[in-house]
Symmetry: C2
Subunit: 316 residues, 2 copies
């Protein structure tokens, strides 16, 4: 009996990526023994062609970005990544080369981040390419960093540079200059901030995906504290500085950046700087949590209130 | 700052379904302590409107079927279900009532199968509704039932009735009579065969989703043994018997049934029957594994060879 093409596709492109518990992707489910004495951190993120990536984006980049947006959530919990499951819905007739390139992207980032494939599903769709990953990480019990731990008096810190993700998308659409391609690269292949030791240093953490202002608001609300954002302290690239004086306040800056927001008590400032230096990740203080209405407001370098826009991303 | 509609939708419809580790669906990831001393069994299945369900299928049924096709994989490993993550890609403008009904379906089957929601993702799509679940179960270490354990001399058993799933789909399309709606009901809401004690009884197991002939072939190949299917022993409903004498041999029968195929040594026949009786699941012997070319062939009640078609489902 000849096997349907679906099984050949899985055997050729995805089975070589399977980790120990994945059983060569030939069984009904994966079987894993969780790391003893550790908690599991589990997240899922989907991406749709034309919504989360440009329709003609190379398949290798789609695969790598899919892993990285999920790894960013693992990083935001202070966890170490382990393995993942993948579901892939693709139009009939998508060439084999697309799957080969997609699997090549997965392979590259599996090596880079020391993770393996456990299983998943492949289906056809009459719609756009739709891909989804469930990612697993592990942490010592009770040490996962939640959004709800920020306290009045904590400083708000951010890793890296804010705003290049959304500018990269604009550049790829021809709406923004990007002479050396760095903005587009930031949009296409964000760098999850794994490896930053934060336990005992940060009270709360989350990653920025929808926009700095919107996501900082989530942190404030989850923690039940007010947040004052020092808008002029937000670290921007040259491209970000060129994007206009209201780039950060408008709410669009930060979308697709996958930098981390961290709530850190002032007495842990030196420990944070040491941890950041050790892993080579820049960190910048951009605000402070305070008693009050659990929401975010902004001031400029002179302390003057700045109105915030609602430029963050929503799907509905 | 007003929150985007996406967060309101999650808070209203999905947060009430969250289990302990789901953190109210407000954090970057779920945090769970795996059951101590147990292995985790993990599977993922996606469903696309127009491919896996009819475009106007009630949202409650879509949700319940999505959970059940995943629970069927947990059942096929002999595991106990625990929790799941959900990703949902829906067209902009889908009415709130659709989400309410979808969440209602999840709630009904969460109670029925004692599972909880841990997290996931909601996105928009310019294409059809696309839903995906990653489902977790647990088993005692080393006791998960794999596809590869069948040995020459084992009998092949099947749970329940074969063929009503694909006939139900045909009935919903008006291609097949279904006066009392039982066939359509089997297609819409399959019953995962959880709770059947199989450890120490079956050597191998898998669930039937693509078609009996194709899936039995997977079991034979994974185990490296030949399989002779007694085609006239395959348990059919009245509707199945009316579907024509080549219904089983054509390969279409069994698609969307989610019954279990079990490889059981003859000496465990009484134990299997006792386990099946205890959980109220009928089981029928429909073949035997033998030394030889790892593939499936069929004989009728007189022992005459019957040619097998390739009617099973493939996405590519």
């Amino acid at each position: 009996m000849a096997l349907p093409a679906e099984f050949s596709l899985i055997a050729r492109h995805f089975a070589p990526l399977a980790g120990d518990g994945g059983l060569g992707l030939t069984d009904d489910a994966a079987i894993v023994t969780p790391p003893p004495g550790r908690d599991l951190v589990i997240t899922a993120d989907a991406m749709v062609a034309g919504v989360h990536f440009l329709p003609h984006e190379p398949a290798e980049n789609v695969a790598r970005k899919l892993l990285r947006v999920n790894l960013s959530d693992i990083a935001a919990m202070g966890a170490v990544p382990l393995y993942y499951l993948l579901t892939l819905s693709t139009p009939r007739g998508l060439p084999d080369a697309w799957f080969a390139a997609f699997a090549g992207g997965l392979a590259a980032d599996q090596t880079r981040y020391n993770i393996a494939l456990l299983g998943g599903d492949t289906t056809s769709t009459p719609g756009p390419i739709t891909v989804s990953v469930t990612m697993f990480g592990h942490v010592a019990p009770g040490t996962a960093l939640r959004r709800s731990g920020a306290r009045a008096g904590d400083d708000l810190w951010v890793t890296g540079i804010v705003g290049d993700g959304v500018l990269g998308l604009m550049a790829l659409r021809g709406e923004c200059a990007d002479p050396d391609g760095t903005l587009a690269a930031r949009y296409r292949l964000p760098e999850p901030r794994l490896g930053l030791h934060l336990h005992g240093i940060a009270h709360a953490a989350m990653d920025i995906s929808d926009g700095l202002v919107q996501d900082a608001g989530h942190l404030a609300r989850a923690s039940g504290v007010a947040l004052v954002l020092n808008i002029d302290n937000v670290p921007l690239s040259l491209g970000g500085r060129a994007a206009g004086s209201d780039f950060v306040a408008s709410g669009t800056a930060g979308g697709d950046d996958y930098e981390l927001l961290l709530a850190v008590p002032p007495e842990n400032k030196a420990a944070l700087r040491a941890s950041a230096a050790k892993s080579g990740v820049p960190v910048t203080r951009i605000g402070r949590f305070a008693e009050g209405n659990p929401d975010v407001r902004a001031v400029d370098a002179t302390g003057t209130h700045v109105a915030l826009g609602q430029g963050g991303w929503s799907h509905f």
